[in-house]
């Protein structure tokens, strides 16, 4: 056996220039659980502002709160998968990643259809009558409000998740970003669906679903951008 290889001088100099102690990264489950408080806060803001939907008695606690709790836990699971995707030695099989993405989509569709089946009536909101009249004539306005509102809320979460994932070493950073983007979108939808009084699938999937898609795309774009900066040869890192 020859002598142990030594790092080249240039590499050693570069390392020696920055040897400040660093804290080890948390485990994927710890990373995912760290997201819970802020995700819970941002997703429930809408409930604090306008309160739960009027038909929550018709829907029952299981379909109102239970379905949202399940969606929220699914959102955290997606962030956990994203955390695994971001570690070079801890990647999960691709099938799990794709299955989780498909299952999340199906879950949103299933809960939407179940909610509509239980409570299909068009709601009358506790607002001046002319607003109700306007919404009846132009339902897209409610869609726009919900779509833009939940996209902004989801965007805030995606930005926070991106900051937590700034040390990500994902081979497919866009996939990791899409996963935590989907987690953000699902968490926000979990709160908004309890507050939003409209059950129609056109509204729930068109407006709220579009917001989830928007956060997935935003997460993928940010993940890709950060990944390129981090691992591009000669690139810099935080």
């Amino acid at each position: 056996m020859g002598p142990a290889p030594k790092p080249p001088e240039a590499l050693l100099r570069a390392i020696a220039q920055d040897l400040r102690p660093v804290r080890p990264s948390p485990q994927p489950i710890q990373l995912a659980l760290r997201m819970v408080p802020l995700a819970l806060l941002v997703s429930s803001l809408i409930l604090l502002v306008i309160g739960p939907r009027q038909d929550s008695r018709i829907l029952g606690p299981l379909l109102t709160w239970g379905a949202s709790a399940a969606q929220f836990m699914f959102a955290i699971a997606l962030v956990w998968i994203a955390a695994h995707e971001s570690m070079p030695a801890a990647k999960l099989p691709r099938q799990i990643v794709y299955f989780a993405e498909v299952a999340a989509s199906l879950m949103v569709v299933f809960v939407t259809l179940l909610t509509f089946t239980r409570s299909p009536a068009n709601p009358t909101l506790p607002v001046p009558p002319w607003i109700n009249a306007t919404l009846r004539v132009s339902p897209w306005i409610a869609g726009l409000v919900c779509g833009v509102g939940s996209t902004i809320a989801g965007g805030i979460l995606v930005l926070f998740f991106s900051w937590v994932f700034r040390n990500s070493l994902a081979t497919r950073p866009a996939v990791a970003g899409a996963l935590y983007g989907a987690g953000a979108g699902l968490a926000i939808n979990a709160g908004w669906r309890i507050a939003c009084p409209f059950s129609a699938p056109g509204h729930a999937l068109g407006a709220h679903g579009a917001a989830i898609v928007a956060t997935v795309i935003l997460g993928a774009l940010i993940g890709r951008f950060l990944g390129r900066r981090k691992l591009y040869i000669g690139g810099r890192s935080s």
């Binding site: 142990a4 290889p5 030594k6 790092p7 080249p8 240039a10 590499l11 050693l12 570069a14 390392i15 020696a16 920055d18 040897l19 400040r20 102690p21 660093v22 804290r23 080890p24 990264s25 948390p26 485990q27 995707e85 971001s86 570690m87 070079p88 030695a89 801890a90 990647k91 999960l92 099989p93 691709r94 099938q95 990643v97 040390n167 990500s168 070493l169 994902a170 081979t171 981090k230 691992l231 591009y232 040869i233 000669g234 810099r236 890192s237």
Partner: protein, 173 residues
């Protein structure tokens, strides 16, 4: 690695001494014997340094660094769009991979040549397990596949390698 995360240069040198030869051979295999393996080796350790905060001590260091080397290789491939040229021209064969299990089946040159023509995913799993001693669970974590898939790839790779070497021997006879 924990000492290194605490700021020890000696710990970095120890990690380099232990892992650099294996990582270099792995990169050389991924690159199909390209000369930039040394550059990517340095880049891997530079990335390891920049990303040392992203390491969690519950994971073994070796698969983490090999996984990082794979990331560096893939990013380099994307950046330079070298994939086609690297894998179309297998004139220069990877210097390292000669599996102990296959040693009796042919000369080193024959084994290298046969491995170079295996499907890339099979060759990678085969070498990670037989050449560098990773468990199938570790390979699964590095490649983003299940442990069963890692085992199947390595097994298919070994079967194809045997077949190729047997054909060579028959041709020689």
């Amino acid at each position: 690695m924990i000492r290194y995360q605490g700021g020890s240069l000696d710990a970095f040198q120890e990690i380099y001494a232990q892992l650099a030869p294996g990582v270099r051979r792995y990169l050389s295999h991924l690159l199909g014997g390209s000369e930039i393996a040394d550059d990517l080796l340095q880049e891997t350790f530079l990335q390891m340094h920049r990303s040392r905060a992203a390491y969690n001590p519950i994971y073994a260091v070796r698969p983490w660094v090999f996984g990082l080397a794979r990331n560096v290789f893939l990013m380099n491939r994307r950046a330079a769009r070298r994939w086609a040229t690297v894998h179309e021209s297998r004139e220069e064969l990877p210097e390292a991979p000669v599996l102990p299990e296959a040693d009796r089946l042919g000369s080193q040159d024959e084994i290298r040549r046969s491995i170079a023509y295996l499907a890339p995913d099979q060759a990678e799993a085969l070498l990670l397990h037989h050449e560098w001693g990773f468990s199938f669970e570790e390979i699964a974590g590095m490649l983003g596949i299940s442990a069963a898939a890692a085992r199947a790839r390595a097994s298919r790779g070994m079967a194809d390698l045997r077949m190729a070497l047997n054909s060579l021997q028959r041709a020689r006879a």
